[in-house]
């Protein structure tokens, strides 16, 4: 789960990391007397909102109302602006970069910092970025901050502020089951205070059962996708026209790859998962149907999910939802013969070979 800047900053505050004074509005009437100037920041999950005009500045309440009117409800980088974060302006002396993220290769947290913070951190060369692996059992200890401060060239009060801040950030990263806590820019202001200028926080979806406060519709997902979150299958919308239902993330992905290599455009990714129930197959069909595909393609390798169960689910869904689209099915694995027989009895063709099924899809799609 990607969190908005303001939510990330709420977490920072909770753990004691300094953030600018500010408040959030979702309506122009929520604007209240404040100390100006302020920054007016669109709360969207996009990396380049500054360049796209998503951040404005206001010197007075009138200015602010004007800016809020312009931003609220507009679409920036394809994302609707529903909330603004209004923050007191900071006199920036220097911008640093700081993050803790999950590092797949070292299998633990990775701390990264650079003296070249700000918008273009990705183009900063590796030699200007310090990377420190943190052992998950050993955890954070102060020497790590000293290594960072030295690399950044900080000393005195700045060094001790950064030390405290990194300790708090690691604590937050661990306690909140985070995959990423990124502060870019990490600001040194004109009074030599270190403040988190922005936040990019990702919480591990698998951990949400112990962080229920982060369970809400994911703004990066479509309505259908969010609705599917309560289901046992995984559903992602795409912009093609072949509705796909497969089992296993790898096989589903391989199915999309094969379609694409044949110049067919999938409408969605739907991985049934490892269940064996006709209901779930029906449910999957109802979801894909709402995405209105041109053709259905069901690609099943029967293991725990048995081929005949899927066949029964397809037949039930076809009848229940009165599906008019052509349904191409490929069944292999456990109970495949029985599954194909069930489908044939109900007027649905079934292939045992994936390539054959895809050739049929190519034909139905008008040939390539």
């Amino acid at each position: 789960m990607n969190l908005y800047e303001y939510m990330g900053k709420e977490i920072f505050k909770k753990y004691g990391i300094p953030v600018p004074d500010g408040y959030v509005v979702s309506d122009i009437n929520e604007i209240r007397p404040y100390q100006y100037p302020v920054a007016v920041k669109s709360q969207i999950l996009s990396g380049k909102r500054g360049k796209s005009g998503g951040i404005k500045f206001a010197k007075s309440q009138e200015d602010l109302k004007e800016a809020a009117k312009t931003l609220l409800g507009t679409t920036i980088n394809g994302l609707k602006v529903n909330k603004l974060l209004i923050e007191r302006m900071i006199n920036i002396k220097k911008e640093l970069y700081l993050s803790i993220t999950l590092d797949r290769s070292s299998k633990g947290p990775l701390l990264m910092a650079s003296p070249d913070g700000g918008m273009d951190i990705e183009s900063v060369p590796d030699s200007r970025i310090i990377k420190i692996k943190i052992d998950p059992l050993m955890g954070y200890s102060d020497y790590i901050s000293r290594e960072v401060s030295e690399f950044l060239g900080l000393s005195g009060s700045l060094k001790s502020q950064l030390g405290t801040l990194i300790g708090l950030l690691y604590n937050a990263f661990k306690k909140e089951d985070s995959l990423l806590m990124e502060i870019n820019p990490l600001i040194i202001d004109s009074s030599d205070n270190i403040i988190a200028g922005d936040s990019k926080v990702i919480i591990d979806d698998s951990s949400l059962y112990r962080h229920k406060q982060y369970i809400f519709p994911d703004p990066e997902k479509t309505e259908l996708e969010n609705e599917s979150a309560s289901k046992s299958f995984t559903f992602i919308e795409m912009d093609g026209d072949i509705g796909v239902i497969a089992n296993g993330a790898g096989l589903t992905m391989a199915t999309l790859d094969a379609l694409t290599l044949h110049k067919l455009r999938p409408r969605n990714f739907l991985d049934l998962g490892g269940t064996d129930s006709t209901d779930i197959v029906e449910d999957a069909f109802s979801f894909v149907l709402r995405a209105d595909p041109k053709i259905f393609f069901v690609n099943i390798f029967g293991g725990v999910t048995k081929a005949d169960t899927v066949a029964n689910g397809i037949v039930a869904a076809k009848n229940k939802f009165n599906i008019k689209q052509k349904i191409v099915v490929r069944l292999s694995g456990v109970h495949e013969d029985e599954g194909r027989r069930i489908l044939m009895d109900n007027g649905i063709d079934a292939y045992s070979n994936m390539n054959d099924a895809i050739n049929e899809l190519v034909k139905l799609n008008g040939g390539n």
Binding site: R104, S105, E122, N184, I202, G250, P266, F301, G303
Partner: protein, 288 residues
């Protein structure tokens, strides 16, 4: 005839199943026993005393120690994986297979760190397990798709692995070892660990690597193959058509620096002399 060394498990490996009384534990332990796995005990806190598949259920891993278990299958739900894994490690088991998906990554990190510290091999989480045809399997791969042979397979997928195993078997080959590494961002065994084992395994003559987008394990394994592996290797990468995934902020970009994409992985495979299949069904043809 000397003792033949297998990859990780043999038919003699003494296996316990934590969570054996659950739906998955009961079903898959039954399949494992049919496959020839030496399941010596089940563990289900609060449900000990009875039997499942003719195997006695114990309250704790500690209680099974007199049976000298060596490996454990964790068939417990994701929220209980950390505790079950620590129980197995602390009681001296040397191979732990984690079935569950959706294990919190911080839990996995701690399990893997602890396992490395104690010299314990972890397969998974979110993995179909390991199968050594003619010997044993720990995991959930369907029994009937296997035939004993000389093709070793390592994969990050589940169902797709079965698909490929079946294709390999149907084409007249057989498998020496099949390991599903698991689909999570952090897993115990990775391609590099497994390619080394396969390279040294006397029973393996050919190797299949089934990778996917994300991370750089395929790239690392490819470097190893290039420098060390003489056996023919076939590769397949899923996710060529995937839209760019959720980015891990700037940090993700800084770490990956261009690795992690299907293109990067396919290129790394090709550079290493690995034959890359476009479709899963093409893999058997490339095995010669």
């Amino acid at each position: 005839m000397g003792v033949i060394k297998m990859v990780l498990i043999t038919k003699n490996t003494r296996v316990i199943v934590q969570g054996m009384t659950g739906h998955q534990g009961a079903f898959h332990s039954g399949e494992m026993i049919k496959f020839g796995t030496n399941v010596v005990a089940g563990v289900s806190p609060g449900k000990s005393g009875g039997t499942v598949n003719g195997i006695k259920i114990y309250e704790t891993v500690m209680d099974t120690l007199e049976l000298m278990p060596e490996a454990s299958m964790l068939a417990v739900p994701a929220p209980f994986v950390r505790d079950a894994a620590f129980e197995a490690i602390d009681n001296g088991l040397k191979l732990i297979y984690i079935l569950a998906e959706h294990v919190p990554v911080h839990d996995t990190m701690e399990i893997v760190a602890e396992a490395n510290r104690k010299g314990v091999t972890v397969i998974g989480p979110n993995s179909p397990g390991i199968t050594v045809p003619g010997e044993a399997k720990i995991g959930i791969m369907p029994n009937h798709i296997f035939r004993k042979g000389d093709v070793a397979i390592a994969s990050r997928s589940g169902t797709l692995t079965y698909e490929i195993v079946k294709a390999v078997t149907d084409a007249g080959f057989g498998e020496s070892t099949v390991i599903g590494l698991g689909g999570d961002p952090i897993v115990g065994l990775t391609f590099l660990d497994v390619i080394k084992m396969y390279n040294e395994d006397k029973n393996t003559k050919r190797i299949v690597l089934v990778g996917e987008i994300g991370g750089s394990e395929e790239e690392r394994a490819a470097r190893y193959v290039k420098e060390n592996v003489k056996k023919p290797v076939v590769g397949y990468i899923t996710g060529r058509s995937a839209p760019p995934g959720k980015r891990m902020g700037h940090a993700g970009a800084i770490i990956e620096r261009g690795t992690g994409t299907a293109e990067s992985k396919i290129k790394a495979f090709m550079d290493a002399g690995i034959n890359v299949a476009d479709y899963p069904d093409d893999i058997p043809k490339l095995l010669k």
